[in-house]
Amino acid sequence: MKWFERMKKGIRTLTKRELPEDLWVKCEGCGEILYRRELETSLWVCPKCGYHFRIGHKEYINILLDAGSFEEMYAELTSADPLKFKDSKRYTDRVREARRRTGTNSALRTGAGSIEGHPVAFGVMDFGFIGGSMGSAVGEKFVRLVDRAVSDGRPLVVVASSGGARMQEGALSLMQMAKTSAKLTELSEARLPYICVLTHPTTGGVTASFAMLGDVLIAEPGALIGFAGPRVIKQALGLEELPEGFQRAESLLEHGFLDMVVDRRELKKVLAKLLEHFT
């Protein structure tokens, strides 16, 4: 079919990172064909098998925060190109494309909001923004969000999703791991709770910094969580396959690196209860 015919028929080619806009969606977990409306109502969790579809920043804001409570902060903050980095593409072009596609200026959105009436400082990452990678913009926004949490006396809730540090900012990206982790010492000193929700996937420099430093660590079912990505491990060890369930949320729970694995449909309720205990 030619592109203009597709246009006429209203068919769009799906890119991996977008939620399907068709009426019917095939579950990646069980293969069941699901009605899109129904999937939306179940917060993009398959009602048949519980598979958690990857969702973006807007969805998490809708799901977790009280309606209309989100006040975004530092929304204008975005990536510069300090290394003038160019690989097969210019870094500035990658950023521009990501901004257009996600409708946001960086891989982390930050602001204030409330969860069942509990005021929080809230951050949510978007894997669609250059793989949710952490460069200077994400690091700076995280630090400002913590500052805000401290000055307002609010708990911090962050939804993580990231492939790691942003390669195109070189060591500057790497330093964001130290920057964000260091800042969290101030949140602790202020005795404010930090809850991190790890979603699929959270790997690399984000896991090895602020995502593993929550007072309470929650993950969505089946989320891939680790430092080295599965491909890197397979290559380094010369393995064809990795053990079943390796680096999945359930395995981390078993090994003692998570407090709980929580179904997305229960997430808001669980967060609210935790906040109630802490405040």
Binding site: A165, M175, K179, S181, A182, G205, A211, M212
Partner: protein, 316 residues
Amino acid sequence: MAILDFERPIVELEEKLGGLRRYAEQEGVDLSDKIARLERELERLREEVFSKLTPWQRVQLARHPDRPYALDYINRMTIDFLELHGDRYFGDDPAVVGGLAKLGERSVVVIGQQKGRGTKENIRRRFGMPNPEGYRKAMRLMKLGAKFGLPVISLVDTPGAYPGIEAEERGQAEAIARNLYGMAMLPTPIVVVIIGEGGSGGALGMGVGDRVLMMENAWYSVIAPESCSSILWRSHEKKEEAAEALKLTAQDLLKLGIVDRVVPEPLGGAHRDPEGAARTLKEVLVEELDALVDVPPEELVRRRREKFYRMGVWEE
């Protein structure tokens, strides 16, 4: 001794010069003119090669099999080194060494990522790629330092944290994150030196300090140039370009405010004169510690955190 491609003309000339000297001595002939000419030639060649090293050539120097490793520096710079072992949770990681030592007049805690010399030792030390136990041992020793008022010296030299199945299951990410957090608030001076390879989060996991120094030919970045090449260029062939683009040399990182001081190496690199390299580094470390030991711990921690908060370049 392993020889890198760009070292070869120098090594060949050195061999020629050595042969000429031996011949002159054995045969009792005067070749001093010729020898002097070769010496000048050698000097010129060294200057030429080493004054304009490419980033990739520095990466190669940083990985040179004869380059001094953490224990080589520790043994040369300090006396009374007592190695301490174990993370007190699971095991002892041979990819990280640490203990108590005297640097000049001062007792210090010294930790380092340790590569092995030769295949057998390298396998035991996992080529300097720490497991979570390595990071946890390092943290335990740093806390020991803080408890007894001893400054910490951390020698970074790793291609990265070990990408193993057990390493992941025992919390590689958590171990690194916990170190970043712990080092940011450690109430004693920390001086970090990137002595060879500063590979990604695995390096940074022992790399938060009041002062971060870097040896002239070390590299430090978010990813190794080969991996960067295969991910961003989808080719293994672009490592030179990736090394260039990543701005991973000591001079680049000094300009970006990530490194506080570059420590000069002997001409030709630290492996050409490990004694000289260790002597220089010792002098520098004594000077750095002199400037830090009298700063009150709260002030030290405040400044250290501020330093890392300033890192980054963004637009708004």
